[in-house]
Subunit: 214 residues, 2 copies
DNA sequence: TTTTGTGAATTGCTTCACAGCA
DNA sequence: TGCTGTGAAGCAATTCACAAAA
């Protein structure tokens, strides 16, 4: 039903990479870039780049290429990162606290405005991060999500707790979840993204173990 | 040239998910599982599960399904995680230290046995993690990689430094790199895996911004 | 019956190659 | 000439559907 139906998932994922590269180009003061050069920087073919961008509109200029500032604005608009998103983080363990320190989220317009933890011993303490957030109780989830206009949730809890907390997040009104727990969430009624840190190491070990004579 | 040529990349990625689910099943004491049930747990079709596993051998038993312990052994062998891998982490910033605390790596047989940082003020200090590693100088990279039999590197440095450090890792003898820096590494002669934390949030915001009427 | 393994059909994605524009 | 946008072709991955095994 979406206006972006029929667009390959891989193309949408690459959109993020184009944006990252475009932001680097702005830093270098580049005004325009061709599909060939943009592809080269990301190890993609020029045709791939043109087709991906053409799914969303006509952004290029024949004979010139793409204007960097213009395309940046367009890709941000398509990805929805032309405005800020308020985010709740659940799980104030090691990973959770590290993510709070990570500047990359805010730089892209994702503001972590609240932290929650199930452990009542931690609730009320201040997390040692740049913006000094106080850990909130899971009981305040729904109210906080509403009051702070939180739309996304980051799940940094142990695997056993993940499904339950994910349900609570949706119940509280969150519209999308980034899941760091090593479990596949089931029956979610909102968009999901999953990051499993060990899966990527396994892919490397596969390539090394299977790729040569062992 | 590999014995696993012609196998779809997506199938290999799912292998990690099968293994994760199998390990959960062992914890529950399950003896066998059908392709249908395994697929259900991971939101895949039964045909997908069977075809993926069949790329690597005949592990199933008609009328029974797959024996959990048997299949676990096989998948570990295929992924190369039936033995341990020594890993070096470069970048002792917030993200790097958080990854050192993360128990998931060791649980899967990936042992982070050395930490490096370019900042000589940090070199020599002990990182506050369970296994108390001392931060090493980048000058000792090659020697340490050799002495500790390190085969994989985790890159947790700023974007600007990533390409340079990646080159140094390969130069030092590392055979695969897991890259957390938000850049696409170029001209690498070893297997790579990339984790960009903001990319996943952008995918969520795309789905929310584009999926409904805005 | 239940459930696998697999050729065949289908769907989806990428690359090719070229018309059209600057 | 240089470069985009895009149908057509080619390739890759998934799903179907059924023979064979327990």
């Amino acid at each position: 039903m979406s206006k972006f139906d029929g667009i390959p998932g891989p193309a949408v994922r690459r959109l993020s990479l184009y944006l990252r590269q475009l932001e680097a180009l702005i830093g270098q003061g580049r005004r325009t870039i061709s599909s060939r050069e943009l592809g080269e920087a990301l190890s993609l073919t020029d045709a791939q780049v043109r087709k991906d961008l053409a799914y969303f509109g006509q952004f290029g200029h024949p004979g010139i290429g793409y204007r960097v500032d213009e395309l940046t604005v367009q890709v941000r608009r398509i990805l929805g990162t032309d405005r800020d998103w308020n985010v709740a983080l659940v799980g104030a363990g090691n990973l959770g606290r590290a993510l709070l320190c990570y500047r990359g989220f805010a730089k892209k317009g994702f503001n972590v405005v609240a932290v929650f933890d199930r452990d009542e011993h931690i609730v009320g303490t201040t997390v040692d991060t740049p913006d000094k957030l106080v850990v909130r109780s899971m009981n305040d989830l729904r109210e906080t999500v509403h009051d702070l206009n939180i739309r996304l949730g980051i799940l940094a809890v142990p695997a056993e707790a993940a499904q339950g907390v994910a349900n609570e997040l949706v119940e509280a009104g969150v519209q999308g979840i980034l899941n760091f727990a090593p479990v596949t969430l089931k029956n979610m009624s909102c968009p999901l993204a999953a990051v499993d840190l060990t899966v990527h190491l396994e892919q490397l070990s596969f390539q090394l173990a299977g790729g040569n004579g062992d």
